[in-house]
């Protein structure tokens, strides 16, 4: 046990030894947890000389005092939670407050047949074989410090299973709220298994309410069965004091479809890592993202798409709008193994600089070992198009309205790729609140249908 004094000076490196194991996990998971703690101690935090972290410094995270999550759920008024939640998502939901599952705020009633949504500990007890065969398989943390840290500090997580052939229309929501009552480090974990020919979508929403430094270190593992269709969305809506690191690992069987939508709307340091692996032929992977750092925020998206089977398609569309002194980083790696012939991969990263002090780094990386593939990539970093501005102003729009409309249109393009209408609308409304000239945008929003 550790004393209160120790907690006050505790940093990220001390977390594995200090995080309480107050969630009842089976012995095999407890063993994994300990092994991950050892691995994390060996790995340490990545430094700038690690190419994957060249543009993102973790020094401020390393020096931030943190308190481990755990214990009983801090109470939070249902009204506050509903106000914080993305509107329009009325399906099953799990709500975590400062890393602890709140049964009262969650709603898992009347799930459709074939859909299982459970706290991870309960799933590990009731569906041990299934969980054991999947948990930590994609996110093994062998080389990734934050994945090891997540497993080492594992608290309650989310388990979703969609049975073969079952079509779930309503998205499942995982809402994690950081109250700001303490400098808490939380380690959200999600395991989603979509069996053959099933269809499901899940939304992870990370919100912070207070202005206290905290860490949200997320690991998500998704298994997309043959011919299954899975959509995953992540909204990061944290404050200027938040560190939000996420790792999404996906395995796609033959003829599967997977979409990842990332909306990075706030956080001091946001690192968004998405890694689908296409292991069956005919798979399609869409990685769609929008990052909107403001002030001195730093948003870093690292994509790694692995084509390990022939005839698969992947699409990466990432766009950033950089205001004030913000910094955006995009790195997209496409790895095509030798057997992955007829791979069709596209990567696009567009950056809009709205301030001379804003900065963007973009780095496409192709690793191609097959000879019959089509891989294209493009990256742009630029300001608003002066020709378009003049055109709109010659049509009576004030300079501010014209700029606002062009920025909105730039950002909205990514959101249009989201199939789930309530999510798309909710994110559009959030987007408008983040943009310059937002007061002028009302007449443009909601007119996308013409």
């Amino acid at each position: 046990m550790i004393s209160t004094t120790d907690q006050r000076t505790m940093t990220i490196l001390d977390l594995p030894g200090a995080t309480p194991d107050d969630v009842a996990f089976p012995p095999w998971l407890a063993t994994m947890r300990r092994a991950a703690a050892t691995r994390f101690a060996e790995l340490g935090l990545p430094a700038r000389n690690d190419e994957e972290w060249r543009h993102t410094s973790l020094r401020s995270l390393q020096s931030t005092p943190l308190v481990p999550a755990g214990g009983t759920a801090s109470s939070l008024d249902a009204g506050v939670v509903n106000a914080a939640a993305l509107p329009g998502l009325t399906g099953p939901r799990l709500v975590f407050v400062d890393g602890v599952l709140s049964a009262d705020l969650s709603s898992l009633d009347a799930l459709p047949a074939g859909l299982t949504v459970l706290p991870l500990s309960e799933a590990a007890a009731r569906h041990e074989t299934l969980v054991r065969e999947h948990f930590g398989v994609l996110a093994d943390g062998a080389r990734e410090a934050f994945t090891s840290l997540n497993t080492a500090c594992l608290g309650e997580g989310t388990f979703v299973h969609v049975a073969r052939g079952v079509d779930i229309t309503e998205p499942i929501l995982v809402l994690a709220i950081a109250t700001g009552r303490a400098a808490t480090a939380t380690h959200p974990r999600l395991l989603l298994i979509a069996e053959e020919s099933s269809r499901a979508s899940v939304v992870e929403d990370y919100v912070s309410l207070g202005h206290v430094p905290h860490l949200t270190n997320i690991v998500t593992e998704i298994f997309v069965g043959a011919n299954a269709h899975v959509q995953h969305a992540m909204a990061v809506r944290e404050t200027d004091e938040a560190f939000n690191i996420s790792t999404l690992k996906v395995r796609q069987e033959r003829d599967s479809y997977f979409a990842s939508h990332s909306a990075l709307f706030g956080g001091a340091l946001v690192r968004n890592q998405v890694n689908p692996v296409l292991v069956g032929t005919g798979g399609h992977s869409l990685l769609n993202g929008l990052y909107l750092p403001r002030g001195r925020q730093h948003h870093d998206s690292h994509m790694r798409v692995e084509h390990q089977a022939p005839n698969c398609e992947s699409r990466q569309y990432y766009a950033g709008i950089l205001q004030d002194h913000a910094h955006g980083v995009f790195s997209g790696r496409i790895v095509v193994s030798q057997i992955a012939q007829k791979t069709d991969a596209i990567q696009q990263n567009r950056n809009l600089l709205l301030s001379k002090d804003a900065q963007a780094n973009t780095k496409p990386q192709l690793e191609i070992y097959a000879d019959d593939v089509r891989c294209t990539h493009g990256a742009t970093i630029g300001e608003l198009d002066e020709e378009a501005l003049f055109y709109l102003r010659s049509r009576c729009l004030s300079e501010e309205a014209a700029r606002g409309l062009l920025v909105y249109a730039f950002a909205r393009e990514g959101l249009e790729r989201i199939e789930l209408a309530p999510l798309r609308d909710a994110l559009t409304n959030l987007l408008v609140e983040q943009l310059p000239y937002r007061g002028l945008l009302d007449s443009f929003v909601g007119d996308e249908a013409g």
Partner: protein, 255 residues
């Protein structure tokens, strides 16, 4: 009748090179003026300067529009006051739909004149009426502005916008370029339907062909940044027949 537009001794340079060198032009309400001239004579510069493009240096002269100093206004203020430029090369704007910004445009004009905003239903009714003028399908206006439009669609969309915004002065910059004869007729019909005793037109063109369909009251020949000859519609026919060399000669001789 008082002039709607009075351009006096206008001198305009780009990067130190003088493009317009003392241009004078007066347009009264109800008149259609055409400016013709060879490439590089300054026709498009004039159009852009009138619309408020700030990449030009105005070194001398004045432009008065309905009693106000036009050169002192921002582009959007000029548009709200009633100046409309149909672009030679309409700009493609990904992600922005024509109806989306036109609603804001109409209401900006109304606000400028102290009128209440129109609601979405009234605006759409107004749009539908004007679409018929230039044979535009609603689908076109739901796409991103000018993106993937054919040359004819772009020019028809410009005239549609002009009809919606109901300007006092319509400036058409080489609206005929890139149009086949059928598209040209549609565009010309749209323009002609807007002719009225209150409205002035400045039709800029390289070729006389457009003026068979939009018949001007006055034709001016612009050479080297100055109007060197003015006349009626028959002047355009002479130019078509003899080319611009015929105009250059007497001016050169007289200088």
């Amino acid at each position: 009748m008082t002039a709607m537009l009075e351009i006096r001794n206008l001198h305009v340079s780009v990067e130190g090179q003088e493009i317009l060198r003392g241009l004078d032009l007066t347009i009264k309400p109800g008149e259609v003026h055409s400016i013709m001239g060879p490439n590089g004579s300054g026709k498009s510069t004039l159009a852009q300067v009138l619309a408020g493009r700030d990449s030009y240096d105005i070194t001398d002269g004045s432009v008065v529009f309905r009693g106000k100093d036009l050169l002192d206004m921002d582009p959007d203020e000029r548009a709200c006051e009633g100046v409309f430029l149909a672009f030679q090369y309409p700009v493609e704007i990904p992600g922005v739909k024509t109806t989306q910004f036109l609603k804001a445009a109409v209401n900006a004009i109304r606000a400028h004149h102290g009128e209440d905003e129109l609601d979405a239903a009234d605006l759409m009714g107004h749009f539908r009426e004007k679409m018929k003028l230039v044979h535009i399908e609603p689908d076109l206006l739901r796409r991103s502005v000018n993106e993937g439009f054919s040359g004819g669609e772009k020019k028809r969309a410009e005239i549609f916008q002009m009809a919606v915004l109901d300007p006092a002065l319509c400036i058409l910059d080489e609206t005929d370029s890139g149009l086949d004869i059928d598209a040209l007729k549609i565009v010309a019909d749209g323009v002609n339907s807007m002719r009225s005793p209150d409205r002035g037109f400045l039709v800029i063109t390289h070729y006389q062909r457009l003026l068979n369909y939009i018949v001007p009251d006055f034709v001016h020949v612009l050479v080297d940044g100055r109007i060197v000859q003015s006349g009626g519609k028959e002047l355009a026919l002479q130019l078509e027949e003899k080319g611009y060399g015929w105009i250059n000669a007497p001016v050169g001789a007289g200088a």
